[in-house]
């Protein structure tokens, strides 16, 4: 191949002019394709109903269900999410890969189909932080309502909508995809790969996310009322909710589809695209964590998709999956739902474990203690995670014999989790600990997750769970594991990789301020909830007994402080991204591969393929190397 040909192949396609611009993937095309698909979604059901003489021809719930599939599809078609595949499938010549979809040169490149895993990673993280802020604002709204017993600002319908969407946004649009975003950015780099295995699928999976988020938010303001059956959306209550519930059912589908696509991508990338010498036992623990998480996602997520489809069918087509009156099995919903949603707890936690392993080892300047057991305990949690779902149903009235076995498996999960906690402590022991912001969040995670884990032991015990189930004790527990656990690890990860992602250093003083405000605000908000829960305050109530008034006022005030701490984070991120000091390639003196390239990395990550020669955490081992560049082995030629 001559030099001339190579340049020709890598040159961007010529710019379209005139009306042809309407056919180029992008926002112009979105503006006419989306209405077209909207029209199709409206026209087809109406036409079918009219031809079949069904009354009424216009049926709201049917139209909404169809529209929530077709309209987003129109958006994705306009954006260009399917162009390559459509050409391929229809037998037309595919466009030569010109790599114009790679890398970002201006902010506009973040608003199109971009196949660069680093751009997608940043798209993910920024989008999820946006939804984190929305979810947090909803929480502060209902904390305002809960500051006093009785009705103040919201009627019960609005209150239930706020509670339901707070949880749904935080889980489906923040924690799960935030980890997917960080993993997207870091994992190919850690593996020594140029990109993910399926860059186009990667781009598509990101763009499903804003669709899902928008659906949940629009659902809240749907005429007739938003989804108000809680994020767990138990049947049969949710089958008889206002129209907004359909937005919830479908929003979860889009988020779930995004999740599954990314997980498949991670799995294939990790299995097939490791650099030469990168055996499984030389992979950083974050890669191990995302490997196990992706297995969980691929196996479990179809179950929540099923549960939401069944509920929607019960509602729209009057099937009887979960309707007792029609012979349905009411508890079936909970079994299917928790068969996903308990593994989902680990989907929301294992990537965090990976992040913490990176941060603690690097910041303590010591190898991870018991590396293999750390990786194996992830696998143990993966397997056990599928055998504990019914501990969410100890009071539900399911088969009585199921309670003790599910209690035992739930208890046993404490063992691999304990191994991880003790191994992190042992990693720090006799280290040279640097208290940077990511390390502070890692320590905050460690201490808070221990409390959340111990309150989990209480809840695994059936008799205690019978008392504490569906009270504020549960609310306290899940916030200790999902906020003190997952969210702290996300913050640790964002601060840790901020220099790599943006090429600039964040402000360390503001970072520490953010940590302390969050840590204190978090404990003041959520610790008292253990108490009011055991005393008898149920969760998801707009009004409560007067004797809980003082504690609730305290919690509400603390929660506003906790919310305000996020402003420090946002300010730090925005200012540092724009004006921070330029980051060196390896500010933390870390050994893993992502730190061996410039910050931010070149468009194709590695100018030469690294040769992995050792373990990733050999701090303090004289002369130890994780990888060498410019090895004598011939580097494979990247396929075009």
């Amino acid at each position: 191949m001559t030099v001339h040909e190579v340049q020709h192949e890598h040159a961007p396609a010529p710019r379209a002019t005139g009306l042809r611009r309407l056919l180029v993937p992008g926002w112009l095309r979105i503006f006419w394709v989306t209405p077209l698909f909207f029209g199709l979604g409206l026209g087809l059901p109406v036409l079918i109903r009219w031809l079949a003489h069904w009354d009424p021809v216009w049926k709201g719930s049917v139209l909404v269900s169809v529209e929530l599939v077709t309209t987003p599809l129109g958006f994705l078609v306009g954006l260009g999410g399917f162009d390559y595949w459509v050409r391929y499938a229809s037998g037309r010549p595919t466009l030569p890969e010109d790599h114009s979809g790679h890398g970002a040169h201006s902010w506009r490149d973040y608003f199109r189909i971009n196949t660069d895993h680093k751009v997608i990673g940043i798209q993910y993280v920024v989008t999820t932080i946006f939804f984190f802020c929305v979810g947090g604002l909803l929480a502060m709204l209902f904390r305002a309502e809960l500051a006093q017993p009785g009705d103040q600002f919201f009627n019960p319908q609005t209150f239930n909508v706020l509670v339901s969407n707070h949880a749904a946004l935080m889980i489906f649009l923040f924690i799960i995809p935030a980890f997917a975003g960080l993993g997207n950015y870091v994992i190919p780099l850690m593996l020594g790969a140029a990109d993910m295995a399926f860059p186009r699928l990667n781009a598509l999976s990101f763009w499903l996310l804003p669709i899902a988020g928008l659906m949940l938010i629009v659902g809240m303001v749907t005429p007739g009322g938003g989804p108000s059956a809680g994020w767990t959306c138990y049947a049969p209550l949710c089958s008889h909710q206002p129209l907004g519930q359909v937005f919830f059912n479908m929003g979860v589908q889009w988020a779930g589809a995004s999740s599954i696509m990314t997980a498949l991508n991670f799995l294939v990338t990790i299995i097939t695209m490791r650099a030469p010498g990168m055996t499984f036992w030389r992979m950083p623990l974050l890669v191990w964590a995302n490997f196990t998480t992706s297995l969980l996602v691929v196996i479990a997520t179809p179950f929540i998709a099923g549960s939401q489809f069944f509920v929607m069918l019960d509602r729209v087509l009057h099937t009887n999956f979960f309707e007792a009156g029609g012979g349905g099995y009411v508890l079936g919903y909970q079994h299917i739902f928790w068969f996903y949603s308990h593994p989902a707890v680990y989907i929301m936690m294992l990537p965090g474990f990976g992040i913490i392993s990176e941060v603690i080892s690097v910041m303590s300047r010591k190898p991870i203690f018991g590396y293999r057991l750390m990786a194996l305990s992830l696998m143990a949690i993966l397997v056990l995670g599928f055998s504990v779902w019914a501990h969410h149903m100890f009071v539900a009235g399911m088969a009585g014999w199921l309670r003790v076995p599910m209690m035992v498996t739930s208890m046993v999960i404490a063992v691999p989790t304990g191994i991880k906690i003790f191994s992190w402590l042992a990693t720090m022991w006799e280290g040279r600990i640097h208290f940077t912001t990511p390390m502070l969040f890692a320590l905050g995670f460690l201490s808070m997750f221990v409390i959340g884990g111990l309150s989990g032991i209480y809840l695994a015990s059936v008799p205690i769970d019978i008392h504490a189930s569906d009270t504020y004790f549960i609310v306290a527990h899940i916030h200790y594991v999902l906020f003190g656990g997952s969210v702290f690890t996300i913050f640790a990860g964002i601060y840790y990789w901020f220099p790599k992602m943006t090429g600039r250093m964040y402000d360390e003083r503001l970072g520490k301020l953010h940590f302390w405000l969050t840590f204190i605000g978090f404990n003041l908000t959520f610790f008292p909830m253990h108490f009011i829960g055991l005393q008898g305050m149920p969760r998801r109530v707009a009004d409560y007994a007067d004797r809980f008034a003082d504690v609730n006022l305290f919690i509400s005030i603390a929660s506003f402080g906790l919310g305000a701490s996020t402003l420090v984070f946002l300010f730090n991120m925005v200012r540092s991204w724009a004006h921070g000091a330029p980051a060196p390639g390896n500010p933390w003196r870390a050994l893993t591969l992502e730190w061996q390239v410039s910050s931010p990395p070149p468009v194709f990550n590695f100018d030469e393929i690294p040769q992995v020669v050792g373990n990733p955490y050999e701090y303090g081992v004289p002369g130890a190397k994780h990888a060498i560049f410019g090895a004598p082995t011939p580097a494979p030629v990247p396929a075009d």
Partner: protein, 331 residues
């Protein structure tokens, strides 16, 4: 490890355990138990708490010690010792937690089995949940909106729901059970002291969920027999009031004569005014229609949120009592 550092570690652990224990003992975490089952649940709770405090203290001590002792100086670029693991230590911290959680599991399983025993001759009370009220039906067929139980006798609650999932809980009795439509779930309670305790719904069941509250009154065995034979006069008040309470009207509506303060639906204290505005016939006809066919007229500012089940759920004689009660009480 030097002996000095072991002692320091131990010191921090004891301090952490002492602080945690003070927290555990001096804050009244659990309500005063009012049933035999609650006492056993409290035992499991304290058994678990002791173990958790021990684990917490060890972790807190190591963490605090590390944070203080192993802090790197500002210009310290050195690395720590390259320790990769310690097989014996790893076996220890796999085995000890395994033993501890096994102990908690065994205690929990025993208590669970005991708490499910209703004995040979339990009092069976049928519990029916509706949006947003509880109905308690006794073997003699009488039913009430509040629960009355005898002290010292096994009671078997036969719990079901007429619409969505609810959950029966009294914090003092500790026992909890979901009420599931189409399914009869059993729950055993053995009240151990007299008094009146709250009963609440703990499963989100719709708009009136927060106000789906009732009471359980525990009487002496003798007092209970008298109460049951007298037809449950302890309920008292107009016959319409009982219907009002059993059907949970107060979960959504304000009505002063019944001390109801719900705010989901229209204020029933203004029924007369409302009837005039609606202009759908005389007051009692309007009230009856609004209960049986709530979608016929919807007060301005409200939606069609009232369940359409009351027409079939309330027997005609009870309906008459309720309509009378509401029409008379209205201003």
């Amino acid at each position: 490890m030097r002996r000095g550092s072991v002692l320091q570690l131990l010191g921090i652990a004891v301090l952490a355990a002492a602080i945690a224990s003070l927290f555990a003992i001096f804050i009244g975490w659990l309500p005063d138990p009012a049933s035999e089952e609650a006492k056993r649940i409290h035992f499991v709770y304290w058994f678990t708490t002791v173990i958790c405090i021990a684990v917490f203290s060890v972790v807190a001590a190591v963490l605090a010690y590390s944070v203080v002792k192993f802090r790197a100086g500002p210009d310290d670029d050195s690395d720590g010792p390259p320790i990769h693991g310690h097989t014996k230590l790893e076996i220890v911290w796999t085995a000890i937690p395994a033993v501890l959680v096994t102990a908690i599991s065994i205690v929990s399983a025993i208590v669970l089995a005991q708490n499910g025993k209703a004995g040979a001759n339990p009092l069976v009370v049928k519990v029916t949940a509706v949006q947003f009220a509880w109905r308690f039906t006794y073997p003699n067929g009488k039913s009430f909106g509040v629960l009355t139980l005898p002290k010292g006798r096994h009671v078997k609650l036969d719990i079901t729901s007429n619409d969505v999932i609810h959950s029966f809980w009294s914090p003092e009795l500790s026992q909890k059970q979901d009420a599931v439509p189409g399914q009869h779930n059993m729950l055993v309670v053995t009240p151990s002291r007299t008094g009146t305790f709250p009963v609440i719904c703990t499963e989100l069941c719709g708009l009136g969920h927060a106000l789906m509250r009732s009471h359980v009154t525990v009487m002496t065995a003798g007092g209970f027999d008298t109460w049951l034979k007298s037809g449950g006069r302890a309920g008292g008040g107009a016959p319409g009031l009982a219907v009002f309470q059993q059907n949970g009207c107060g979960g959504c509506h304000t009505f002063k004569p019944a001390n109801a303060t719900g705010k989901v639906g229209p204020d029933l204290d203004n029924l007369k005014e409302e009837a005039a505005k609606a202009n759908r016939g005389p007051l009692d006809k309007f009230v009856e229609e609004s209960i049986v066919k709530p979608e016929a007229y919807i007060a301005p500012g409200y939606t069609d949120a009232m369940p359409h089940i009351f027409g079939s759920q309330i027997p005609p004689d009870k309906l008459k009592q309720l309509v009378q009660y509401l029409s008379r009480g209205a201003k």
